[in-house]
């Protein structure tokens, strides 16, 4: 008996919508098995993971707060992956964006701050993330070094840079030696949108980015060139697409969005820098991008789902004593299933009982 893949002629819309849904269903089923193996009631655990976060206003706000960075980063990554450019260092670009923006808030703390500060911080965050992302882009286009490895190595460098800053030069002098910066003043924090929660201006900004990105991806020449480069690099070259410039472009864009997500997270949600300020948003966003079929609107839906798993994981840890790493297992499984189901779009899978002649 063996597995045989046969090329499909055309893929229907129904199939394209069904594939991510099937992946989610399979991931839920696998999660239930894992919960049972860990000695928890699978139904109780699934409820804590996937329904509890959506059951009250506080939970919904938290989902939006966690989805914001995931959606922003994954929209940028979707452009990269569409172009066949493998930026997997979004976590580092997120952190450097947070550092660049926070630098303005800390430098002006207790001094003249005005309404100019927040926009300047957001711009600095986007620029910082973008500049950090251009390092692997430069190494790729100038020297041909694999962007997969260089962008990932830079994540560790960014984490250590953050660690050094909050323990050294940027540490809050009045913070009892805790590794954290001063709490940002109101002029440097994003306004809240609702009482009794953490929902802030960052979420509408992310929604706006999704709309603009969806337009760019489907309705502009640049969006077309990006898809062409990824799907048919030879055809792109004949059509006069400059692969180097496009590589720079998608790296700069995804770095800027990751950096923006970083500064929004710091100035809207955390209000100070501390080590470990990201629970791996940059890596989870890779899963979001694929689950969202590398499409900005899809990333929005997928980002909300993955945000639920973050909060559900915390719920399950507190209520059922399930290890927090179980969330990563579910996220990894989800990406496996997404990729496997995508094969169903391109191929018909058949089991053959005997080897045909």
């Amino acid at each position: 008996m063996r597995l045989v893949l046969e090329q499909r002629g055309e893929t229907g819309l129904a199939l394209r919508m069904a594939s991510p849904l099937l992946a989610v269903a399979l991931a839920l089923a696998s999660a239930a098995v894992m919960f049972a193996a860990l000695g928890a009631d699978p139904l109780v655990a699934l409820h804590a993971y996937f329904l509890l976060p959506l059951s009250d206003s506080w939970g919904l706000q938290e989902v939006a707060v966690k989805a914001t960075p995931l959606v922003l980063i994954s929209v940028g990554l979707a452009f990269c992956y569409r172009a066949g450019v493998w930026n997997i260092g979004a976590e580092g670009q997120f952190l450097v964006g947070a550092l660049a923006g926070a630098w303005l808030a800390i430098a002006t703390h207790g001094a003249a701050q005005g309404p100019w500060l927040l926009p300047a911080m957001l711009a600095a965050g986007a620029l910082g993330g973008s500049a950090f992302a251009l390092i692997p882009a430069l190494l790729r286009t100038r020297f041909g070094a694999s962007e997969i490895l260089t962008s990932l190595m830079l994540v560790y460098v960014a984490e250590l840079l953050l660690d050094w800053l909050v323990r050294g030069p940027w540490r809050d002098p009045a913070g009892f030696n805790m590794p954290q910066t001063v709490t940002f003043s109101p002029a440097a924090t994003l306004p809240l949108l609702a009482e009794g929660g953490r929902l802030n201006l960052g979420t509408p900004i992310a929604l706006l980015v999704v709309i603009v990105a969806a337009f760019v991806a489907t309705r502009t020449l640049k969006g077309f060139e990006i898809r062409l480069l990824g799907e048919a690099p030879r055809a792109a070259r004949f059509a006069g697409v400059d692969a180097k410039r496009l590589t720079w472009g998608v790296f700069a864009l995804s770095g800027a969005l990751a950096g923006l997500a970083g500064i929004l997270e710091v100035s809207g949600t955390l209000r100070q820098l501390q080590p470990g300020l990201s629970p791996g948003y940059g890596f989870t966003a890779i899963i979001v991008a694929f689950l969202g079929r590398l499409n900005p609107v899809g990333c929005l839906v997928a980002g909300i789902l993955l945000a639920v798993t973050f909060i559900g994981g915390e719920n399950a840890q507190i209520m059922l004593r399930l290890p927090l790493d179980a969330t990563r297992v579910i996220q990894g499984l989800l990406l496996f299933y997404v990729l496997a189901c995508d094969t169903l779009l391109l191929y018909r899978v058949r089991l053959l009982r005997s080897v045909p002649a």
Binding site: Q7, T327, V329, Q331
Partner: protein, 305 residues
């Protein structure tokens, strides 16, 4: 024991897991499959290794469990990229995330449980040679195994028919298929070998280097092993140079921190990662733009009957 001797000994222990993982990935890539999930397979090896060693009380059982765990993860990956022809980069990332998570779940009951490491093997008489003796003939079994692996892989790839077929699958899968070789089966076996090596390297971390379990203890070594394969231009003996270069940098920064060099410890800790980037750039520069990677690396192959 002199200081230089002590430093060289620690360089060997830091380099061995890198070398073992890299040589496994080298075989997989020579067969044309890019498995970015080395980090995940390695840390699953570390977790399964210490879990089995503590539960059974036997280091050998720990090593066996680590190898099996690495192979199991490689098999999942193989099913995806070979059976279902998915994108190898994305599936590799999924494997890394999955392995990091699952190892945390599996290792949770064993956090902080101490256990005696694996002892060293002393070669009689030879280990008494001054300076070289302790370095070459008083090591733990993993160090000998790493060099045996390199020699074995070099011989297999360069001198055997099976090695030639494996390389053919990596260079031109369609041609190998046309000659009647089972490309997918060969690639799957190569992946399993890579998984076994990554698991073994993980066992070294949790059973020898730091004989206890902490979540995320591979700290990027799997990714550095991937860089070593590129640095080695996919040649087995050069992987030794790569692994010892990176191992050396790791130890250098530890000693510099200990000696009180007035540089922030974080800057020193970033050194291995920065050196990896620099090495990748220099090796590409030295090749003058030409690529020595297997021609079919990363391209899915679907045999049409």
């Amino acid at each position: 024991m002199t200081l230089i001797e002590a430093i060289l000994l620690t360089v060997i222990t830091a380099s061995t897991p890198l070398l073992i993982a890299a040589i496994g990935e080298l075989i997989a890539e020579r067969a044309g499959v890019l498995n970015l999930g080395v980090e995940g397979m390695m840390i699953m090896g570390a977790a399964a290794g210490i879990a089995a060693a503590i539960t059974t009380g036997s280091s050998a059982a720990g090593v066996a469990a680590a190898i099996l765990a690495g192979m199991a993860l490689a098999a999942i990956f193989g099913l995806l990229v070979l059976g279902l022809a998915t994108n190898q980069v994305a599936a590799g990332l999924a494997l890394a995330i999955f392995g990091l998570g699952l190892s945390g779940v599996l290792g949770a009951p064993f956090v902080g449980v101490p256990r005696a490491g694996i002892g060293k093997i002393e070669v009689p008489f030879l280990s008494d040679i001054p300076f070289l003796g302790p370095l070459l003939f008083r090591q733990d079994p993993f160090v000998y195994a790493s060099f045996a692996l390199v020699a074995g892989v070099a011989w297999f790839l360069g001198r055997t028919r099976a090695g030639l077929v494996l390389r053919a699958c990596g260079e031109n899968a369609a041609a190998a298929h046309a000659l009647g070789y089972k490309v997918l089966r060969i690639r799957f076996l190569a992946l399993l070998f890579g998984g076994a090596c990554a698991g073994l390297a993980g066992a070294y971390l949790s059973l020898v280097l730091t004989p206890f379990w902490t979540s995320g203890m591979t700290s990027g070594r799997g990714w550095i092993a991937l860089a070593i394969v590129v640095f080695a231009s996919w040649m087995s003996w050069r992987a030794v140079a790569g692994a010892y270069l990176f191992g050396g940098v790791t130890i250098l920064q530890l000693h510099a921190q200990g000696a009180g060099v007035p540089i922030p410890p974080q800057a020193m800790a970033a050194l291995p990662y920065l050196v990896t980037i620099l090495a990748l750039v220099l090796i590409m520069q030295a090749r003058g733009g030409g690529s020595t990677a297997p021609a079919g690396l990363g391209t899915p192959f679907v045999p049409d009957r």
